[in-house]
Amino acid sequence: MKKLFVLMMVFILSVSAIAEITFWTTETESNRQTRIKALAAIYEAQTGVKVNVVPIEENDLMTQIPVAKNSGTLPDVLEAGIEPLLLLSSENFMDQNLNTEIVNSFGDIYPGAKRLLSDASGSSFAVPFHAWVQGLWYRKDWFEGRDLGFPYSWHNILTAAKALNDPANGVYGIIIPKKANAFTQQVFTEIALANGARPMDADGNLLLDSQEMIEAFRFYKELGKYSKPGYTDVLDALKGYLSGETAMTFYSTYIMDDIAVEEVQKSRIDKFDADLVVNTGFANKMINIRPTSYGQMVGIGVLSNSKNKSDAEKFIKFLMSPKNYVYWLHMAPGGMNPTRSSVAESDEFLDNPILQRYGKAKIAEIVAALDEVERFEFIEGKVLTDMSKLDSNFVIGKAINYMFANDWTPQQTAAWAQAEAKRVLGK
């Protein structure tokens, strides 16, 4: 009996001695999970620390966190997009001191990437992990034929859309999203910021009916004239571009493998255009009265309640050490871009069939846009948590949807958006 007792004690002690951390990731696709679990297994083999990888849908995050808080099952490390990280940080969930230390310890994180995940004092909510950039993908060959310049400015974009629009032959100047969803809001964000328009100022005052905003709506509606009919969405934008149905489309860098890889393209449109990769140009910024670019940063950070912060910190550093980092980023070549300059420029990162097709210069250009990335949620180092409420209620998306459905003037659209935003925020 005594022996059994001792044996049990040894077992219990040895089990509890195994350190463990929990890692919530929003990369839920099964092939990504395989890679993440492989990295966790390597980490465990190297350090003896077990990593519980929990995949969680980004949309469920803000409902799962309160549940986990009440049941005491919050993770030690969390990987998520800017919006949830911001909200969590405003509620003191993120250990800003430790995350800032980790950011500083790398020494080569792009300043633009760092800025997107830190407050006015420079303290980081989370470590910038990887990012995609949104821009205008366009048919370089069609543009060159008509001498249309580069579609960076509002003027050039509209001129090209008008010139290349040929609906009789099933070709449109552009495909812009018109549905009430996140994609429409992302595209509109870039357009509005290029005109200096913001839905909210640093003090949280609503500016959806400002003159700049009205002009942005007007430009969007103008583009709609040369866009594919219907309330087009993200898949229309992607398929339309791949099948040569449009001269321009807004999309994130996740389109890169669709353009370059035969199997991926065939899975979308049943055929493959081998020249598309050469004939494609990418406008990584937009300008009307000021330049801007749009992108999404995914951060990774230690939570303030973690009981095992030292292992959590080591795990993040492990994931962002060159070899493991490249292995992670190659989950979605083009879609996931590094935030560490040393990795972005390394041959190991570029050693990938998709990235190679675009070449070092193109990749550098895409990554460079990260420095200019702007969002409605940040202004002058301030974070506007109310903006996430407007985003998730699709205030701007709905306004655009209505503008096209009811043929509203830009003024009517702006007035509706302003009133709806007031309603949503209870102002």
């Binding site: 009430a180 219907g230 109310d386």
Partner: protein, 293 residues
């Protein structure tokens, strides 16, 4: 257990045994249903804090007052009642019609009966995408077909925000009528043929047979499925939200109010309590008057 003293020892034993038998269910219901319900009511009086290191703040009835003062709540409430009535009545009429047809003998009936269940048994997300696909402007197969009859190919019926209420209502009726058809059909098959024979001898026509035999026989089935569908559709979120962002029913109001941005769990709990009370009153009245319990 003094109340048991009135019974004979045998009866007493039986009663105790009975309680033992139901106790697992009673315990399960208490833990899994009653506890969350009461905890929800308790939370509705608080400003629930999500922040690490700050406590919930007691706010009395202010969550309730704020909701009841919100005009959006009342608009959503009206929309939800209209949605529930239209979809329940619509799916019952369709389900009843189809069940009557499927009760007649014809070649290939088994196959048709099985096919009719597809809208109900196919995963929701798949049919939402199918609907959106067939009605795509320009490329959608149904749109192409409709252009033969003079419709504009650029028309986007489903995604037009002005159509949202009608689209979600039609979609809901189409998706859920098989459930009603199935319930009604099973009852139809159990109606004694003798009634119809007797009616025919008395010279009743088809309509009279339907009105005086079929309908009274179906009364409780229709009453029950109307109640179930009413409860389900009143709380329906997934179908409505996936089809349109503009339908503005109450579940969407709750989602918008409580789960976007930083979740406001106290407010969500108060709305849930209000809806719970409303439904309890309606259900109580309905089962008494319609189902005659």
């Amino acid at each position: 257990m003094t109340f048991l003293n009135r019974y004979s020892p045998l009866k007493k034993k039986e009663a105790i045994f009975g309680w033992k038998l139901v106790s697992p269910t009673v315990i399960l219901i208490s833990v899994l249903i009653l506890y969350p319900v009461f905890y929800n009511i308790y939370l509705s009086f608080f400003d629930v804090s999500l922040s690490i290191g700050s406590e919930n703040k007691f706010v009395g009835l202010s969550n309730y007052i704020n909701i009841l003062k919100d005009s959006t709540f009342w608009r959503s409430f009206g929309t939800t009642v209209a949605f529930t009535l239209i979809t329940v009545i619509g799916s019952i009429l369709l389900g009843l019609g189809v069940a009557l047809l499927m009760n007649k003998k014809f070649f290939g009936r088994t196959l048709v009966r099985a096919l009719l269940l597809l809208p109900y048994v196919t995963p929701l997300i798949a049919i939402v995408f199918s609907w959106k696909y067939v009605l795509l402007p320009i490329d959608g197969p149904l749109t192409k077909f409709l252009t033969l009859f003079g419709f504009s190919s650029g028309m986007d019926i489903i995604n037009d925000p002005n159509n949202s209420f009608i689209v979600v209502s039609i979609f809901n009726i189409w998706r859920n009528f098989p459930f009603i058809y199935l319930m009604i059909l099973s009852k139809l098959q159990a109606i004694n043929e003798d009634y119809y024979e007797a009616a025919e001898i008395d010279g009743a026509n088809s309509w009279q047979k339907f009105l005086h035999i079929t309908l009274p026989e179906l009364y409780f089935v229709i009453g029950s499925v109307a109640l179930l569908r009413g409860i389900w559709n009143f709380y329906k979120f997934d179908e409505v939200y996936l089809m349109s962002k503009f339908a503005n029913t109450l579940p969407i109001y709750i989602y918008e109010k409580a789960f976007t941005g930083v979740p406001q769990q106290g407010v969500a709990a108060a709305i849930a309590t209000l809806l719970f009370l409303f439904m309890m009153v309606i259900i109580g009245y309905y089962v008494r008057k319609v189902l005659k319990w």
